[in-house]
């Protein structure tokens, strides 16, 4: 019994140390990554997040300066604390980095890269292109242009 208690103590101390050797607790980057269809991360501490934004793709590390950005279609890469990377395709949305180093990535729709189908993307791209060419007014044209952009990005993500 006593031995087990010692073991547990050691384990606890080790855990504490691993926290300390990482980043200080208050500066952990808590990532919330959610989309309309699914939640990928809910306040999970991660190492790095790379996001594609309208003003260019950028990576977020802990203690990033607070900022707001609007997502453009593309692949969000999340590097978890254990080094595992997951790539998730997003259609549009927002990124918020707050002063407490928490990060919110909110997407309209998001899917893991492995769920994307190249053939279907190709199909939707050609459909969107034909819609773009036959669009009657400005609004329809803009909508079709967005569809083309998304389809192109999906294609790029699925093949790359």
């Amino acid at each position: 019994m006593a031995f087990r208690g010692v073991l547990r103590n050691v384990a606890r101390r080790l855990q504490v140390r691993s926290y300390a050797s990482d980043v200080a607790k208050g500066d952990d980057m808590a990532l919330t990554f959610a989309a309309g269809n699914k939640v990928f991360y809910d306040k999970v501490v991660v190492k790095q997040v790379d996001v594609p934004s309208l003003s260019g793709a950028f990576g977020i590390l802990p203690k990033h300066v607070p900022t707001l950005a609007v997502l453009r279609p593309g692949v969000v890469t999340v590097i978890e604390n254990d080094g595992k990377t997951s790539k998730i395709f997003v259609s549009s949305g927002t990124v918020t980095v707050n002063d407490d180093s928490s990060v919110q990535v909110l997407a309209e729709e998001a899917h893991p890269l492995e769920n994307l189908d190249r053939g279907a993307a190709q199909e939707s791209l050609s459909k969107a292109q034909s819609e773009f060419n036959s669009a009657a007014n400005e609004k329809a044209k803009a909508e079709a242009a967005i569809a083309v952009e998304v389809a192109e990005e999906i294609l790029k993500a699925a093949s790359g």
Binding site: T32, G36, N37, L54, T67, L68, V70, D99, Q104, L106
Partner: protein
């Protein structure tokens, strides 16, 4: 005098006549009523089953939507955005649905807005009703505050597309509000929900927030797109919370209705049997006393 009294007498006779053959009629009436109550119970029971199934789905969806909604509000809290004092114009959004028979979910939301509209300064408040129910409640007294109404909410689980449409309607409504609130029912447990609100701000309010300066590389375009998207996300979250509260509340309401119908059925069956017994007894007495008179 006599002429006037005569119809009265006639009436009394008529009543007496009615009472005479009433026993048979009540038996019939009771059995009709019993049947209708039984049918109602069947309906409320199946409505309960349906809303129980819908509730499970709504709750599952809500679990996914919660981090989404919280994430959308975080920025406003962190940046300490406050309503501008020089702009009294406010926008209230009532998140209800088209369907009733679900307890007080819709009344609760409407009441919050109604109380606000009774306070001074109400002339600067405009309301957008999401769902027919809030419109029905607010329209008669506060019709001039309502700028638009969305319906076809609540038949199907809400999607992000619905939220986008509502957000689009708000952004194109030409109403320049300084601040506002989304009033919705926050789901707490199967038996409990609470009226709650999410903040809305104008772009000007965000730009003058005290802590906005700490945020890097912002321009008006980014803020505008960011706010439009966050409006849609908050609406989406509020829709999900509302849908879940509504289904859980409907489940409870229908459960209670079924129980009440059960009680009514018990009472009616008792009365029905008593009356039937009374009729039989009376008929027997009539036969026996008839036979006795012949002897």
């Amino acid at each position: 005098m006599l002429g006037r009294a005569a119809p009265g007498v006639c009436q009394v006779v008529a009543v007496a006549n009615q009472q005479q053959n009433r026993n048979m009629a009540t038996l019939k009436a009771i059995s009709i009523r019993l049947k209708s109550v039984k049918n109602i119970q069947k309906i409320t029971q199946s409505m309960k089953m349906v809303s129980a199934a819908k509730y499970t789905r709504a709750e599952r969806d809500l679990k996914a939507a919660r981090p989404y909604g919280e994430g959308a509000v975080q920025f406003y809290e962190r940046a300490e955005v406050a309503a501008p004092e020089d702009d009294p114009k406010q926008l209230y959004i009532a998140m209800t649905s088209d369907r009733g028979l679900c307890g007080a979910v819709h009344t609760g939301v409407s009441k919050v807005i109604r109380t606000r509209l009774q306070e001074p300064g109400a002339e600067n408040i405009k309301v957008i009703c999401v769902g027919d129910k809030s419109r029905g409640i607010l329209q008669r007294l506060y019709g001039k505050h309502i700028i638009s109404v969305c319906n076809e909410i609540g038949r199907l689980p809400p999607t992000f597309n619905d939220a986008c449409k509502i957000a689009g309607a708000i952004l194109t409504s030409d109403y320049e509000f300084g601040s506002g609130k989304i009033v919705y029912n926050k789901f707490r447990s199967v038996v409990s929900y609470q009226q709650s609100d999410l903040p809305l701000f104008s772009q000007k309010a965000v730009e003058s927030a005290p802590k906005l300066a700490t945020y890097d590389s912002l321009d008006a375009d980014v803020i505008q797109s960011y706010m439009e998207f966050s409006l849609a996300s908050m609406l989406f979250y509020a829709l999900k919370e509302g849908a879940c509260s509504e289904q859980s509340s409907r489940m409870t309401a229908m459960d209670n209705a079924s129980k009440n119908a059960g009680e009514m059925i018990d009472k009616l069956t008792l009365t029905f049997n008593r009356t039937r017994q009374a009729v039989i007894t009376r008929e027997l007495i009539e036969i026996i006393s008839g036979a006795a008179a012949l002897d």
